[in-house]
């Protein structure tokens, strides 16, 4: 059989080369679009410049380069590298210098805060116009304007009136001029906040807070952001070429204020739609960085190029409290404690993910004394099958039943599918009388079912935008928009709402949030944390300082290549 296949292959190849004559025209035609990207990558191979080209692969087309667009990880990565906000996150995810040269903060008597940012004199757009405070004002208002509303406008919440402007019920709805931001002169930006939000500066590193040049955008009309010539940059790189659905090249922006510290000449992105294709491309040297799915970890775990990177992203099971069985405290707790999270993370995910007995991730935030968030309570509801079975029996008795059937809503990709299968199996084995049916749905459809609370248990996840535990905790506020479980605990609400608005005593706030997490998991078991996710990837050893942020975006500003 094997020999026959080879024979066939040979026949096919010879025939194709015959056909090549007829279809040669078509072939070269199709390559026309990517010729430019080839040229730009050639420079690196000759090794003349000190910089070199970093070759990246990505699973899909770049969705958008508009800061008010629908930002997925890929768009965010590109924007972080071609634009720059007042600050940017460095290698250690600390704030580092951006468009703001310095700033000043004054606390007002009514508890509100005023920030004054001085924008760099040498900050320029790639078309030569200076970056001004007006660009920020325009960009932010644009994100809130109902006509150009950004799906990420919620991030602007700390700014005075931002919440009111995006509330269709409120009288200020759509009145972007009421936003607490003002350009007092070309280089001075004044921002008003309702409260002294400690993570405000970090928000400024998010693309939705980036400046936008009004004049340029107006001149482009509907074409804005569609092609490289319809985009101007103020970041370390600019969008050089863009062959849709095939790849794009980010080249070094010589007009960038800090360009002397940017070593790379270019980042060459290619669309590689399949995980195993990506690995194969890494093997042939076509790309420098390859993301690994769990399946490939066994193959490369010993490789020197193998790295893992833990994300601030936690997966957990939502229990829908509308379900009569899940409304029982003992049943929920039994479910949480009866599957082996450690074994799952180690043997199924394999990519550096860690088992989660918490909602606020490991290595995430510390208080002023440098004490980590996790230190106080440690893990909640550690796996304990015997204890779980006791709770389960007790729960069944309270409910007056001996068998329960529950549905587990789940994701549709291979890795998380295996997780769901594992959990089902563990639950059914460890908790007598339990039947779990997996309902696997594509993401959008899954979210729809969750939103309608049309599920029993749901495999979900949450990732932060800013480094503050409240990002994870406000998901479960009884009146919060993301509470799809009917979870309500007064004490919890009180603690979290206080943490959202009261920043007067940061130590107390920290302790409050720790307590809220304890209530959520240990006391109420409203969720069953599963794991904190990580990404495994191969990074060519000649690439240094490749910065992967915990939200799985990358910064190329500091990358250097060895020859």
């Amino acid at each position: 059989m094997n020999r026959k296949r080879w024979l066939m292959l040979l026949m096919l190849i010879s025939l194709v080369s015959l056909l090549a004559a007829c279809y040669g025209g078509g072939g070269s035609d199709s390559s026309g679009g990517s010729a430019e990207s080839d040229e730009s990558s050639e420079g690196s191979e000759t090794g003349e410049s000190e910089g070199g080209t970093l070759h990246m692969a990505t699973p899909g087309e770049l969705p958008t380069v508009q800061t008010n667009g629908n930002l997925d990880g890929l768009s965010q990565t590109v924007m972080l590298n071609i634009y720059e906000g007042l600050f940017r996150l460095d290698e250690n995810n600390e704030l580092s210098a951006g468009m703001a040269e310095d700033y000043e903060m004054t606390e007002n008597e009514d508890g509100s805060v005023t920030y004054t940012f001085n924008i760099r004199e040498d900050a320029e757009w790639s078309n030569g116009t200076p970056v001004t405070a007006h660009d920020f004002v325009y960009g932010w208002k644009r994100a809130l304007d109902p006509e150009t509303f950004s799906p990420h406008a919620y991030l602007m919440a700390p700014i005075t009136n931002a919440n009111e402007i995006q509330d269709p019920e409120h009288e200020l709805y759509g009145q972007v001029d009421e936003l607490g931001v003002e350009a007092t002169d070309d280089k001075t930006l004044v921002v008003e906040l309702n409260n002294n939000v400690p993570y405000f500066l970090e928000l400024l590193a998010n693309p939705v807070m980036f400046p936008q040049n009004e004049e340029f955008i107006a001149s482009q009309g509907d074409d804005y952001g569609l092609e490289p010539e319809n985009v101007i940059s103020n970041g370390p790189f600019f969008l050089d070429t863009w062959t849709h659905d095939q790849g794009w090249v980010l080249s070094k922006n010589e007009d960038y204020w800090d360009s002397e510290n940017v070593s790379l000449d270019a980042v060459d992105y290619r669309v590689a739609k399949d995980a195993s294709t990506e690995v194969n491309l890494y093997e042939t040297g076509d790309i420098d960085v390859a993301n690994l799915t769990s399946e490939f970890v066994d193959m490369y775990a010993e490789d020197e190029a193998y790295t893992t990177n833990i994300n601030t992203e936690v997966y957990f099971v939502r229990f829908n409290l509308q379900n009569e069985f899940l409304a029982n405290d003992n049943i929920r707790k039994a479910l949480d404690m009866s599957y082996d999270k450690a074994e799952a993370a180690e043997s199924i995910l394999k990519n550096g993910s860690i088992p989660a007995y918490f909602l606020v991730p490991e290595d995430f935030v510390s208080n002023e004394q440098g004490e980590g968030f996790r230190e106080k309570h440690g893990n909640f509801n550690m796996t304990d099958i015997e204890e779980a079975q006791k709770l389960w029996e007790q729960g069944l008795e309270e409910l007056g039943t001996d068998s329960i059937t529950l549905e587990l809503l789940s994701y549709d990709d291979d890795q998380r599918k295996a997780m769901a299968e594992y959990m089902k199996n563990q639950w059914e084995n460890n908790l007598p009388g339990l039947t779990v049916a997996i309902n696997q749905q594509p993401n959008k459809q899954k979210l729809d079912l969750e939103g309608k609370q049309d599920y029993d248990m749901s495999f979900s996840g949450w990732r932060n935008d800013i480094s503050d535990p409240v990002e994870f905790l406000n998901v479960h506020l009884s009146d919060g928009p993301y509470n799809w479980q009917d979870f309500a605990n007064e004490e919890y609400d009180e603690l979290v709402k206080k943490a959202q608005t009261d920043f007067s005593d940061l130590d107390q706030r920290f302790a409050d949030m720790q307590e809220a997490e304890r209530i959520l998991i240990e006391q109420e078991t409203a969720i069953s944390p599963i794991y904190q996710s990580a990404n495994a990837r191969l990074i060519n050893p000649s690439v240094n300082n490749f910065v992967a942020h915990p939200d799985n975006t990358f910064s190329f500003k500091w990358v250097t290549m060895e020859e």
Partner: protein, 353 residues
């Protein structure tokens, strides 16, 4: 032997001499023509099925195909019970074991000795005794049991697809072409609409309206699976219906139903069987494709398609996952094709000699 005797019977009838008598009209009686026996040969002919079976038996390939299908069906039914492992029995400590079979483990080149691609005896390393004939998957489940459970699902889908093709597709296509004109026009427009609305939208809707899984896949196939067959048969019947034997048959008074079922469809048997043989793999792979984009069967239920799909990523490191499931899929296809070829040769009236 039987047919020989019948031939003699014919001869004898021919030799009966007609007594000389003057023929007058009153000797004749008008007999009402009955649709069913207008063309009937008075002697018992070799039955269509009997004749076909005889020819099928002579076709070695077809018999091999038939035997293979029977073996596969048997294993699909009995295979999962042949060892003590359940199809959803997980044990992460023994995940990704290579295959190991008693007796055959001593035959070095078969690769059934429990050694992985680096030649390490994983069974010894992981301290496992016992045998996993096809190895285990990433959750430590027995691949043998899962593969045969999966074969059941795939065979169900295969037979369902074939049945729909034959029942709906053939009838639809032949009626459309035979009556032609307005009927054809309307029926073809319906087909165009069915093809025009992409299956995927229909399937996603079904999956979300109904319980996800095999029911929605079945329904999706009922809606769209037979369209190709209908078009092929229409093409065939269009070609055949102008030919002399149809005209002859009609002259003899055969009705529409009889023409379609006794002449047009049997004469299209070649394309019918071939198309069915294509529908089967397409259906099996469509189901696999649905799993590929996350819309297929709900785990832990698996079909051959989903097992191949799961194994695909592991091809370079744990090839056994992919190997056994692909081999069985290929065997199913090959045996259906061999049988199909034989059936085609046996049933096609033009091949009768």
């Amino acid at each position: 032997m039987e047919s020989l005797i019948q031939e003699f019977g014919f001869l004898e009838v021919d030799e009966i001499s007609i007594p000389e008598q003057k023929l007058t009209d009153d000797l004749f009686e008008v007999e009402r023509q009955l649709d069913k026996d207008v063309e009937v040969i008075s002697q018992k002919p070799v039955s269509y099925l009997g004749d076909s079976w005889k020819r099928l038996k002579k076709n070695r390939g077809a018999i091999i195909g038939l035997v293979l299908i029977i073996i596969i069906i048997f294993l699909a039914l009995a295979g999962p019970y042949m060892n003590s492992h359940e199809f959803d029995e997980q044990n992460l400590k023994i995940s990704n074991l290579p295959p190991k079979v008693p007796a055959l483990e001593h035959v070095p080149f078969l690769g059934l000795d429990g050694k992985d691609i680096e030649g390490q005896d994983t069974y010894a390393v992981k301290n496992v005794d016992g045998y996993y004939w096809f190895g285990t998957d990433n959750l430590g489940r027995d691949v043998w049991t899962r593969v045969w459970e999966g074969t059941r699902i795939s065979l169900y889908i295969a037979f369902l697809a074939a049945l729909l093709d034959l029942l709906i597709g053939v009838t639809y296509g032949s009626i459309s072409a035979y009556y032609g004109g307005k009927i054809d026009n309307v029926m073809q427009r319906i087909i165009e609409v069915l093809i025009g609305v992409p299956n995927l939208i229909v399937i996603i809707l079904l999956i979300l309206v109904l319980q996800p899984g095999i029911v929605s896949i079945t329904l999706a196939m009922v809606i769209t699976g037979w369209v190709n067959m209908a078009r092929i048969i229409r093409g065939q019947v269009l070609k055949l219906k102008g030919q002399e034997f149809v005209l002859a048959s009609r002259t003899l008074g055969a009705g529409d139903t009889r023409l379609i079922w006794r002449h047009l469809i049997p004469n299209s048997i070649g394309p019918i069987i071939i198309t069915t043989m294509f529908t089967i793999p397409t259906a099996i792979f469509t189901e696999a494709f649905l799993s590929f984009i996350g819309l297929g069967l709900q785990p832990p239920i698996a079909s051959l398609g989903t097992i191949v799909n799961d194994g695909f990523e592991l091809i370079q490191i744990y090839p056994h996952m992919l190997m056994f499931s692909s081999i069985i899929i290929s065997l199913i296809m090959i045996s259906f094709n061999l049988l199909g070829d034989g059936l085609r040769d046996a049933f096609d009236p033009k091949m009768r000699k």
